[in-house]
């Protein structure tokens, strides 16, 4: 709770117009995610049903020829996230807090910090999930700790780079759009 409070203090007060825009972006992203998830779920159910009716069990070589539902779910998440980011950028904002609402250049220190947090989260998550999977499949004594750490570090690094590019791109687009809006709304 202390960290969240400090974060809010650092980010400054919220602007109500930006907050309204952010809410709209989240609403659209949420809608896409729900519809996408439902479609994937329906696809998965139908896949199992058809497989069962045709006496061709899904856990055989047939599985290699199918489009995995996890891939479709990842696409739904990616589309909803992209939609939210695009709506935010089009409204000339990167969030509802005022600290970076009027910047004219990309705040690289902040962008690096967010990308670092993103990379660290992905790295730790990848490591923990791999260990959990291995514990269930090959047992705790056969967990491959070093390779798991290496994979976590690699995916964490990848997450940092992607986070950096995406967040810097969002800032760049939002700044350009905000300048356009400000030119339209002459002082």
């Amino acid at each position: 709770m202390g960290l969240i409070r400090k974060w809010r203090e650092y980010m400054g007060p919220k602007d109500e117009y930006l907050e309204a825009k952010e809410n709209k972006a989240v609403k659209v992203g949420y809608g896409i995610l729900i519809v996408g998830t439902l479609l994937v779920l329906y696809y998965q159910i139908m896949l199992q049903q058809v497989s069962s009716v045709l006496d061709d069990p899904i856990y055989t070589a047939l599985r290699d020829r199918l489009v995995p539902s996890s891939l479709l779910l990842a696409i739904a998440i990616l589309v909803s996230g992209t939609a939210m980011t695009a709506i935010q950028a089009r409204s000339g904002s990167t969030g509802s807090y005022q600290r970076f609402a009027n910047v004219d250049r990309i705040p690289w220190d902040f962008v690096c910090f967010v990308a670092l947090a993103c990379g660290a989260s992905i790295g730790v998550l990848s490591f923990v999930m791999r260990v959990l999977a291995e514990m269930q499949i090959v047992g705790f004594e056969n967990v491959m700790w070093l390779p798991d750490i290496a994979i976590g570090a690699f995916l964490g690094g990848l997450g940092f780079v992607i986070g950096l590019v995406v967040y810097a791109g969002l800032f760049s687009s939002a700044i350009k759009r905000r300048h356009e809006i400000e030119r339209e709304l002459e002082d």
Binding site: P13, D15, E16, Y17, L18, G92, S93, Q98, A101, N102, R178, I181, E182, E184, L185, D187
Partner: protein, 68 residues
């Protein structure tokens, strides 16, 4: 952009010698928000209306009441 613009708010701000950015800083909003209110494309909350009125020394009626 809608046809209705808040000309009275813009005039009151200019009379007070404030830029959009200065008014925004005074009421805890962004310049974009102030510009959009003046352009009539964003309806502010009562809290923000009150803050704008206090800063510009006007009443809610004077700045935000729509005649007719």
């Amino acid at each position: 952009m809608e046809d209705w613009k808040n000309v009275r708010m813009k005039k009151a701000r200019k009379d007070a010698g404030l830029s959009q950015q200065q008014l925004a800083d005074a009421v805890g909003a962004t310049r974009q928000t102030i510009g959009l209110i003046e352009a009539g494309t964003y309806n502010p909350s009562l809290r923000l209306c009150t803050a704008i009125c206090k800063t510009l020394g006007k009443t809610l009626d004077e700045l935000f009441w729509e005649e007719g």
